[in-house]
Structures are given as C-alpha cells and as structure tokens.
C-alpha cells in the first residue's frame, strides 16, 4: 500500500498536484461536515435550547425512564441471543467445509436488506390477532405483538447478522491449526473453544456486540410496527422520541434523542479503538516478517503481544 501524502507536499509522478489534493480534501470534508457533523450538532443544540433544567426534566420524566428501562431490557435479551447465534454460525461456517456455505452466508445477511417495516410486518402476520398463531395465542392469553416478546423478536431480526458477519471473516483468516494443535495435545472441544478460539476472536466479538447493541437500542421502524405505542409500557426510547416530537415538545424530544446520540458516539469511540488496536497488531506482524523472513511466516498472528 502507498503511504498517504501530506496535502502540501510537492507533487510526484504518482500524486496529484497540491491544489487538486487541497481542493478534493476541502470538498470531501465539507460534504461530511454538512451531512454528518451538522445533524449531530443540531441534536445537542436543540436539546439544550431551553436550558439544562428542561433537559433533565425531560430525561427523568416517568415515561422517559420507562422507555429507557424497556430499551435496556430489549437489548439485554436480543444481543446475547445474537451473540450465541453468531458464534455458533461462525464456528460451523469457518471451521468446516460443506456444500452451500455461500448460500448460508447470504441467508444470514438477509435481514440487512429487508426493510425494517417489512421485518415488523412479518411478525404481525405470524403472531398478530389476524396472524397464523393469533387465535391460539389469544386462547392461551399470551401477548406477543404490542408487548415485550414482539419488540424483542423485531429487534433480534434487524440485528441478526451483526455478530456473525464480524466473526466469519476473522475466523476464516485464523484457520483451524491452533484448534487442531490443542485437540492433539488432549484438550476437550469446549476447553479448546474457551482457551484457544475465544481469546483469538474476543476483539472481533466485542466489535460485533457493540454494533449489534447500538442498532438494538436505536431501532425504530421494526419496533414501531409491533409496539402499539402504549406510553410507559411498550415505548422504547426511539419511539418515545417520536411521540414527544409529534406532540411538538421539541426540546424534550431532542433531550431524549441526545442520550441515543451519546450512545452512538460511545459506539464509534469503542469501534475506533478496536480498529486502531487491530492496525497496530498488523503492523507488528509485518515488522516481524521483515525482521525474520523464514521463521516469522510460521508465526500465527495470535502469538504476537496483544
């Protein structure tokens, strides 16, 4: 890979003239400032427009707290479910060879391409009053739609691929040699997983978990369809924001929205940290290879200092 060039450095045969570099950078950064930074700043500016007093009042209001509790509950169920699935799917897909593997990966990615509204709708068609299981659920007095189970199902659907999709390429690149070595040395299958595989994938797993969590807490379209919008009962934070906004309580809507914006910023910070760590590990690997050509090729990435 080519080293990045300083904006004002003299041009060479394989770089653009300095004025082109500066112009391109200004356009790209201007675009990002306009479309990404400005909306983010707006959230906090609108939230604090009527002062800290109104801001805190909106957040500690009982319906807002109920929404916060519900969002945390939904994420606390949905995220571990998708972690368990992601690890199982990645283990089967990356450690074994079988026919139809690519097709299976495509199926796992499917929820990313389905509109959140359609995702909500399919659960209404299965569990709703008019749905497949509707009469049976009603007879047994079980509520799924317009209740917590429906919210969890819709959230699990939209966040379904996150963990699996982070783990699959990572575990693919790690191969199976270390696990095979552990088994040869007499470790059980579980022991191999906990002592060899898990330490190897922990950062990728964390990455998947925080992305999954951010989406789970922020999902709007899918939960909007299955929630029923019962204040204080089936409203998650994003739905609470919508209600406040539609009631023209703008300062309160933005105050509650700013909690979600902070969550997004924390997510980005952790994500950047993991990426930065990864990059350093990769650089260390290439330095090692340069230092000792013949031996280093045999060194698996995980032997390197974390």
């Amino acid at each position: 890979m080519a080293r990045p060039i300083k904006l004002l450095a003299p041009a060479t045969a394989t770089t653009e003239p300095a004025w082109v570099r500066v112009l391109l950078t200004v356009i790209a950064l201007g675009f990002l400032a306009l479309f990404i930074l400005l909306p983010l700043v707006t959230v906090f500016a609108e939230a604090l427009r009527r002062g800290w007093h109104v801001y805190f009042a909106a957040i500690v209001e009982p319906d807002a707290l109920a929404a916060l509790r519900l969002t945390l509950t939904v994420a606390a169920i949905a995220v571990p479910l998708n972690v368990l699935f992601g690890v199982a799917a990645a283990w089967a897909i990356t450690k074994f060879e079988f026919r139809g593997k690519q097709f299976l990966i495509t199926l796992i990615d499917l929820p990313f391409s389905v509109s959140p509204v359609v995702a909500g709708l399919v659960y209404v068609l299965v569990f709703g009053a008019q749905g497949w299981l509707g009469p049976w659920l009603q007879a047994n007095d079980i509520k799924v739609i317009f209740a917590l189970p429906g919210l969890v199902l819709a959230t699990v659907f939209v966040t379904f691929p996150f963990v699996a999709r982070e783990l699959i390429p990572l575990m693919q690149s790690q191969g199976t040699e270390e696990e095979e070595a552990a088994l040869t040395l007499g470790a059980s299958g579980w022991r191999t997983f906990w002592a060899v595989t898990l330490p190897n994938i922990k950062w990728g797993l964390l990455y998947g978990v925080i992305l999954c969590n951010a989406r789970a807490m922020g999902e709007f379209g899918a939960v909007s369809v299955v929630s029923g919008h019962i204040r204080g009962q089936t409203n998650t934070i994003p739905l609470h924001v919508e209600i406040l906004y539609n009631e023209y309580q703008f300062a309160a809507a933005f105050a509650v929205a700013s909690i979600l914006a902070l969550l997004a910023l924390v997510t980005l910070a952790i994500k950047s940290f993991i990426e930065w760590r990864d990059e350093r590990a990769r650089e260390a690997t290439s330095r090692n290879i340069a230092a000792d050509d013949s031996a280093a090729l045999e060194v698996p990435a995980k032997v390197l200092p974390a």
Binding site: I36, T42, K95, F96, I108
Partner: protein, 279 residues
C-alpha cells in the same frame, strides 16, 4: 444430525461441534428469519392475483414507489461520487484530524434513524440553520421530496466509503508508477488504471446504499411531510395500511419490496464474485 446431512458432511476436519453448531444455526435462522418471511409469502399466496395487482398498481402506491426508488437512486448516485472522494482523501492524503474524520464516517450506522430524522428536520425546516437561508433562495427542503433525498444521502453515505476504502488501500502503487512511466497523465492513470480496478467495490457500495435507502423508514418520515402522492414513501404506506387493518394491502406492498431486496442481494453477490476474480 439431520442438519449435517442436509448440508453435506464436513470433510477432513478433526474439530468437534459441527453438528450442534450447524443445527443451532439452521434452527435459529429458520425461527427468526426464514419462517416469518415464509409467512409473508404464504399470506401473499392467499390473495387473488386481481386484488394483489389492484393494490400494487393503485395510483397512491405507485406514487410512493416512484418516490422511494427515484430518491434512493439519486441518493445512491450522490453517495457514489461523495463516497469515492471521501475514501480517496482518507486513504491517499495525510491531514490533521484524519482519524477522527474516519471514525465519524460511520455515524449514520451508529446514530438511531429516528434521531437522524428529527435532527435533519430541525436543520432543514424553514426556521432551521440551513432551511432558513435555503428558503430565502426559494428552495424548500423539509416536507418535500428533496427532504427525502437529504435523509437518504445521510443514511447511505458510509456504504460506498467503507467498500472502496479497503480496496484502495490494497492497490499496488506500481500500477500507477507504470502508467506514469508510460506517459499517462494523473487523470488518465485514475480513469484508465485505477477506476476499472475500483469499479466492483464502487458498484457494491452503490447497490448496498440503494438497498438500504429503499427500505429506510425512521430517518425519512420526519423530514418527508408524508403527503400522499408527493412525499409518501412505500414503507410508510405499509404502516398506514396496517393501521387500517388492511393486512392484504400491507402484505402486497411488502412482498413487492421484498422481491426487490432479493434482486439487489443477487446483484451484490454477482458484483462480489466479479471483485474476487479481479483480486
């Protein structure tokens, strides 16, 4: 294990756990994704062709499709140009604060769509920071199709950047050196050497942004104004039908959207095969 048989037995592996891992994967995938989607297909099958056709060709529905697809296509095109520029600047140039800028590119992925929606609306409303000067120029953004476009540009931005960036990082500098030594100008080297190599990644990012934009709901409904025939998107129409207990109507529109999603997934897979052949 039945699951293992259905997918072909694993070959040459001494590792344990294929049966349980694969079994659980297929079970969970079926339960959460496949069976519910099948419910949609079956519900559609109970509609008569005439009623299906009448729903999806209703003028109001057609208008919503036109808006959803038109705005999504335009937004994805804007993101294609902007995304390639941003990826280029991030990979090739060095400037202060680059790491921070790089991190912020993912904000549309991390920021809940409803938050983005109300923020963009406040920004572009007639009394907003950008809406006011634009209104003075006679341009209305919020509560018009233009607002829909803005929201879709926002949510689609990271796709092109994040698909092009790694490919651009891995490109061999020697190709450009060869082009330069053979007398190509910088512009020729870009259009004749680099662009063809980047094309599969650029198109993949474009289709991903398009696919996301077509289904997008939360960031759009606040800024759109949701006027029937003018600024009403297809996913909103599904919810409207549901609220009127018109399950057949909602299902018909959703089925058409799902078919389009499948078609776009197919395109992405073909593009990725093309990219792998290139690499």
């Amino acid at each position: 294990m039945n699951a293992a048989l259905a997918w072909g037995r694993p070959r040459r592996s001494v590792l344990p756990g294929f049966g349980p891992a694969m079994g659980y994967t297929l079970f969970y995938l079926s339960l959460i994704v496949l069976i519910p989607l099948a419910a949609l297909a079956l519900k559609t099958a109970t509609l008569t062709w005439d009623s299906f056709w009448a729903t999806v060709t209703d003028p109001r529905v057609v208008a919503s499709y036109r808006l959803s697809f038109g705005a999504s296509l335009l937004a994805a095109l804007v993101n294609l140009v902007a995304g390639v520029s941003v990826a280029w600047v991030l990979v090739r140039y060095d400037f202060p604060g680059k790491r921070l800028v790089d991190a912020f590119v993912d904000l549309p992925f991390a920021l809940p769509t409803a938050v983005a929606g109300i923020a963009l609306t406040a920004l572009y409303a007639p009394n907003g920071w950008l809406g006011e000067p634009l209104a003075a120029l006679g341009i209305k953004v919020a509560f018009t199709p233009l607002g829909v476009l803005i929201a879709l540009i926002f949510i689609g931005l990271p796709f092109v950047v994040r698909t092009v960036q790694p490919v651009l990082e891995d490109l061999d500098k020697e190709l450009e050196e060869a082009a330069a030594s053979l007398g190509a100008s910088r512009w020729q080297a870009f259009t004749k050497v680099l662009l063809p190599l980047l094309l599969p990644a650029i198109l993949t990012g474009f289709v991903l942004a398009l696919s996301r934009a077509i289904g997008e709901f939360g960031s759009v409904i606040f800024i759109a104004g949701n006027m029937p025939f003018v600024s009403e998107i297809a996913p909103l129409l599904i919810i409207t039908k549901l609220e009127q207990y018109d399950y057949a109507g909602a299902t018909a529109i959703a089925t058409l959207m799902l078919v389009i999603s499948f078609a776009l997934i197919l395109v992405v897979n073909l593009l990725q095969k093309w990219q792998q052949r290139r690499a």
